[in-house]
């Protein structure tokens, strides 16, 4: 009895030391893939690839010394299912694949068209996978190709697409989660961000942020929205932090470019007795004039109002074009109309949600963009103009 606490402690120590539950894994026994890809082979099997970092070369490349040697390598494997493909890749790797830092996953266009249903489960089931991940569709190319494109600014090129997306005003690390949320929400269709591979200025090819890919309910690629269309869509969803808008001002014979920030959006829905839905989209933002190719002196209230109204009107038209394209061409609700209706008219929504796909195509949409020009920059009229040429 006297030694009871001691014996207790000893037994606990035995649990720790003898049960073998030491899941310690040294960094030098792990291989980190910062990006991976899956493609569909011609014969219907999956080809999966990973961009694995080579730790010993990272220091060299950061010292900028030897150069030439890339701090990463790409290994592939193919099989009937994604897991089998990974298994084939593992046969070539001396270390354990650790996916916890993988933030980019590329999907080839062929696979996206074929449907990505089969591979989604593996993402959510594996605890080593991070949920803040971006899945990219590679427009007109394969995912493996996207991995192979070098990118000069980043040590490991896979990081590039993520950072580009962030730099142009998008969100990063949410596309996988958004995809899953949209898939499981009644009425809405999932989307993924898109990159494509283009010829850069130099001889190198480079990766480019393209826009947004729209999937249908079977997780098959329905079509693309380009960069500006994608940005409008993000604006409607308030998922954007930066956008350049350039519009022609016919009254002044030139164009004015505006940087928009502080985005806001409001959806107002109305539903009639015949299940006709009307949607009013109100987009707001704060504009900063960054380019003025007209002879207008923007310090004048009248000129500023003119520019503001023209930009708002034209942008409204462009947004409406995009919405119509989504409605008529793709027939997939990726604009959050279903949620707006659900919130604003919950009773009616419950009645019509079964036929949402057909109703969505016939929604009468009006778009009203209200960008408020808050600053005109350092100068009023362009400085190179003579006093007489300026329209005050």
């Amino acid at each position: 009895m006297k030694h009871r606490p001691t014996a207790f402690l000893f037994l606990i120590l035995c649990i720790a030391l003898t049960t073998g539950c030491w899941d310690r894994e040294e960094l030098s026994d792990r291989v980190f893939d910062l990006a991976a890809s899956t493609d569909l082979n011609k014969d219907g099997t999956y080809l999966t690839a990973g961009q694995f970092i080579i730790p010993s070369r990272i220091e060299q490349s950061s010292k900028g010394g030897t150069g030439g040697e890339k701090p990463y390598f790409i290994e592939t494997g193919s099989g009937k299912s994604p897991l089998e493909a990974i298994q084939k890749a593992r046969q070539k790797l001396s270390r354990i694949i650790t996916r916890s830092h993988r933030r980019n996953y590329y999907i080839g266009e062929d696979l996206a068209k074929h449907g990505i249903k089969d591979m989604l489960d593996a993402f959510s089931r594996d605890p080593g996978n991070r949920i803040r991940m971006d899945i990219w569709v590679v427009k007109g190319n394969t995912g493996l190709e996207a991995l192979q494109v070098p990118y000069p600014l980043e040590k490991v090129p896979a990081v590039a697409s993520l950072k580009i997306h962030k730099a142009v005003g998008g969100t990063s690390g949410t596309s996988y989660l958004d995809f899953m949320i949209a898939s499981s929400t009644e009425g809405s269709c999932p989307t993924l961000p898109v990159v494509d591979i283009v010829q850069g200025d130099s001889s190198q090819r480079t990766i480019r942020f393209y826009g947004r890919a729209i999937f249908n309910h079977d997780y098959k690629l329905a079509g693309y929205l380009n960069f500006v269309e994608g940005a409008y869509r993000q604006w409607i969803l308030k998922r954007i932090s930066y956008l350049d808008v350039e519009e022609n001002i016919p009254e002044a014979g030139g164009s004015v470019g505006v940087i928009v920030t502080n985005f806001g959006s409001k959806l107002k829905s109305r539903i009639s007795s015949e299940n006709k839905v009307k949607m009013e989209i109100e987009l707001s933002g704060v504009g900063h004039v960054s380019e003025n190719n007209t002879n207008l002196d923007l310090r004048g209230q009248k000129n500023l109002k003119l520019v503001q109204n023209t930009i708002n009107k034209k942008t409204s038209e462009h947004v409406l074009e995009m919405v119509t394209k989504v409605q008529k061409q793709y027939g997939a609700d990726v604009l959050g109309f279903n949620e707006a209706l659900n919130r604003q008219h919950p009773r009616e929504w419950n009645k019509i949600k079964g036929q949402w796909d057909t109703i969505f195509q016939d929604i009468k949409v009006t778009v009203n963009v209200k960008v408020n020009l808050k600053s005109v920059g350092l100068v009023g009229p362009p400085l190179q103009f003579k006093e007489g040429d300026i329209n005050k």
């Binding site: 720790a16 040294e26 030098s28 990272i58 916890s100 040590k155």
Partner: protein, 519 residues
């Protein structure tokens, strides 16, 4: 200063002789004393005749007595001068010796041989005279001692510069000068069969908690030991929990700390021969309080206190968290950080936890060597240590560079604890922490922290819980724990509990328009 002499067996004298009264015969007394101090070369027996009439004997230990004062104050007037008129009959020596002839501030009379011997040993001059059945003790201490200097271990920027010395009388006087009140009580005791060390228990009557004072008295009086050579000799006997790394008795070299602790209801224990004064009770939060906190402006003191706490936590957890994250949870690192760490760890032969143990072990070794080695060699050790460990080991690929950074950060952080003995606890605890993190990752660190927390809540110091006033929580006392409240806001004394409500700083003294108004 009240005295409770603790007489026990002594030297060459048979026990029964100790209680013998002083004989009226000078020769007999001298014989007994010479017998007691046989083979003691430093004993001096000086036979004199006071005013050529009274036979007297001065006994003292050479080197412990201020002989210059002895010459001037006793020997010269007795031997070279004539008695003052009005001195009366020289036969009534006993009264006269004490009241009129010994012109020394501190005297007393003793009546047994044992007391005489003890007085001689504690560097007094004993005056025996023919026909006198007691001896007069004159305190003429004059041994070599260190001056009051700035304490090396607890320096402040704006606080007082004086520190305790090895002399208990100097030490108690330093505190008395700071608390000039009759309420400051100092009880003296003697501990140690051989060393006969004087121990003084100091407290402020009416402020100190009676039960603690009584407990201190009780615990000290039951100590049976041969010699007491330092504070720890007492500390180990009176602490509540011997098997813990955390000290439950605070020690300090600074009189101002003792004074402030006394005012905060604590009890101080002075021990002769050491500049360290023990203070009880003591809580964990002492580890974060430095003397300068009270001499600097309160906002700065609070910020610095937080810095200290952060660094102490760092010193306890940093190596274990590094090991846990790199070997169990690499997903917790930012990607770019991971890239740097993996490239630095590439090719390092040992697992991270072994590496951490090696380096921490080496650091402790270097630290210890730095303290123990003679001063001139100390710097050589640090240079070799820095070069060998910091530079060569990394270049040779035996140790990874991040580990060196982690260990040196930990090392610096662990030395920031203002109370050295508290710092030891945190420095040692990071080894078990490391073991747990190497086995279970962050689970292990959490488990070990919980064990530590449970252990800390179990501790108490003289009845005061070790984590108070945080656990158990006492709101009014929090003003000097996580923050250092401004002086005008510290209204009550810490440790007040619910028993009495001591007001320390009356309300309404906050600077500004309403200063002086009753709040």
């Amino acid at each position: 200063m009240s005295t409770t002499q603790n007489t026990s067996s002594n030297g060459n004298l048979p026990d029964e002789a100790l209680h013998d009264p002083v004989s009226k015969s000078l020769e007999k007394n001298e014989l007994i004393l010479r017998n007691s101090f046989k083979s003691c070369y430093d004993i001096v027996f000086r036979r004199i005749q006071i005013f050529g009439q009274i036979n007297a004997l001065l006994v003292y230990l050479d080197g412990l007595v201020d002989t210059k004062a002895l010459d001037n104050l006793l020997l010269k007037p007795w031997m070279l001068e004539t008695p003052r008129p009005g001195l009366g009959e020289l036969n009534a020596v006993d009264l006269m010796l004490e009241q009129q002839l010994v012109s020394i501030a501190k005297t007393k009379t003793v009546e047994t041989i044992g007391d005489i011997v003890q007085s001689i040993l504690s560097s007094n001059v004993v005056i025996l005279s023919d026909g006198l059945s007691h001896a007069v003790i004159a305190e003429l201490k004059g041994f070599e001692q260190r001056a009051v200097e700035e304490p090396a271990n607890e320096t402040t920027i704006r606080g007082p510069r004086e520190g305790f010395t090895e002399n208990i009388n100097v030490n108690t006087s330093l505190v008395r000068r700071k608390i000039q009140s009759t309420k400051l009580k100092m009880e003296s005791m003697t501990v140690g069969n051989l060393s006969k060390t004087t121990i003084v228990i100091a407290y402020i009557e009416g402020i100190a908690i009676d039960s603690i004072v009584e407990e201190v008295r009780k615990r000290i009086s039951r100590i049976q030991i041969d010699t007491v050579l330092g504070g720890n000799f007492i500390e180990e006997f009176i602490e509540d929990h011997p098997f813990t790394l955390f000290p439950q008795v605070q020690n300090t070299e600074r009189p101002d700390i003792v004074a402030s602790c006394l005012a905060e209801r604590k009890v101080a224990i002075f021990i002769d021969g050491t500049p360290f004064v023990l203070i009880v009770p003591c809580t964990l939060w002492n580890a974060f309080q430095s003397a300068d906190d009270y001499y600097e402006r309160f906002i700065y003191a609070t910020i610095i206190r937080w810095l200290r706490m952060l660094l102490i936590i760092t010193s306890l957890f940093l190596p274990s968290i590094y090991v846990a994250i790199t070997t169990f949870h690499p997903q917790l690192m930012p990607t770019n950080f991971l890239l740097s760490i993996t490239s630095a760890r590439e090719g390092v032969p040992f697992p991270a936890v072994i590496e951490a143990f090696m380096m921490e072990f080496l650091f402790e070794g270097l630290r210890e060597a730095g303290i123990r080695l003679p001063r001139p060699t100390g710097s050589a050790v640090s240079i070799v240590g820095a070069l060998v460990i910091g530079q060569a080991a990394v270049q040779a690929g035996i140790v990874s560079a991040p580990m060196v950074i982690v260990v040196s950060l930990t090392g610096i952080a662990s030395l920031i604890v203002p109370r050295y003995s508290m710092g030891v606890a945190f420095r040692m605890l990071r080894f078990p922490m490391l073991l747990f993190s190497g086995m279970f990752g962050l689970y292990g660190v959490t488990m070990a922290s919980l064990f530590l927390l449970i252990h800390l809540t179990n501790l108490e110091s003289f009845g005061v819980p070790y984590l108070s006033p945080i656990a158990p929580l006492s709101r009014t006392e929090l003003k000097d724990v996580l923050i250092r409240a401004p002086r005008w806001n510290m209204h009550t004394i810490p440790l007040s509990g619910s028993t009495q409500n001591h007001l320390r700083v009356p309300k309404g003294q906050k600077p500004g328009g309403n200063q002086g108004d009753e709040a």
